[in-house]
Symmetry: C2
Subunit: 210 residues, 2 copies
């Protein structure tokens, strides 16, 4: 297997993705592109931030759902650290809530894993020149998508409820009274138009609010 010559100043890319096989495959394929070079690979957001500091990539391609620190948090971290790296979110999920959060966190690209690798390379080039690269399917309904109506507490409690914890368990976990937990849950259920806590958790997850 021979590597083609790199151009004088290839685009320096960092990949953050927790699934080894996909991460390795993407790195290998992107490295075959003449104008792209993968300078680092991270398995979660925390590691990615560290490596970004050390390798000064031009573009960071990151998954969202990773242990330790998510891709959305990574985007925010990089922005906060005033890194020059442009961020492209690469995810399975076409959740409007995710896209919105990604853009708020300063991401310049949002691409689905449903698309071929060639589009990723294309997105990297676009973003490197300062343009945006938003998946067309999502770009449309992103802004008309409704905003997460949940408060922090509601979200937090709903997350636990969705894992099967009972009201009283959640209450003692969070040092709240059981009644209060039920109140928050009830609020969340009405806000989401759900039938019960499980349904509410499902809806929130599907929209990328959890």
């Amino acid at each position: 297997m021979n590597t083609p010559e790199k151009s004088a100043h290839p685009i320096r890319v960092l990949i953050a993705e927790d699934q080894t096989m996909l991460r390795g495959a993407l790195a290998a394929l992107l490295n075959l592109e003449a104008d792209i070079t993968v300078v680092a690979e991270a398995i979660n957001g925390r590691e990615a931030l560290k490596l970004a500091g050390a390798t000064a990539p031009d573009v960071v391609v990151t998954d969202i759902e990773m242990p330790e620190r998510s891709g959305l948090e990574l985007a925010a971290d990089l922005k906060h650290a005033e890194s020059a790296a442009r961020v492209i979110i690469l995810t399975t999920f076409a959740r409007p809530g995710y896209l919105r959060r990604a853009l708020d966190a300063g991401a310049r690209g949002y691409l689905l894993k449903e698309r071929p690798v060639s589009e990723l390379a294309e997105a990297i080039r676009r973003v490197h020149t300062g343009l945006r690269a938003i998946d067309p399917d999502l770009a449309a309904d992103a802004w008309e998508a409704d905003v997460d109506p949940l408060s922090d507490r509601e979200r937090q409690i709903l997350r636990l409820a969705g894992e099967g914890r009972t009201s009283s368990e959640i209450a003692s976990d969070l040092h709240l009274s059981e009644g209060t937990v039920r109140n928050y849950l009830s609020e969340a259920i009405t806000k989401l138009g759900a039938a019960n806590r499980i349904d509410a958790a499902r809806i929130a997850r599907a929209r990328g609010w959890l």
Copy 2:
């Protein structure tokens, strides 16, 4: 980009995986191997079965969770069709239940997406020569893993309950009385040692029983 010479009789591989980016990346990388050629790509189990008939692959690499027809069902279908293709399951999930079902369905390999692509190529070669390729982490506790204790009805009802449907909804969906639904759910909860239906659904999912 130049493709290396293929050997006279390369291993013919079919890939079934619903996520386009991973599917494309794997196909591209495997094609770079001198002794492997990807003869077809499918986005679900149904399509894979059809393509397997048309292309007579030596090895089928398949994901488990796909729409239409899962990788486990595909393995069973191929066995039933007396296909000569050897099946390698490639999945994110280290669920003992999945491995067991895979082996029962006649799969010769079980590999996690947590491993590098090189291991996939290696597994393909092993399986092609008639050997097995089971992820070492799983091989150990696979057989001592407990068997799915749920009956079909219990599983079916638990699945619906896990999606947030109420007992009465499930009852009318399945033409059962509400009390009966509660009975099954209660059974499932005890069998799994869960705290409630949500917890039970979570546990069953985690073990690959749902």
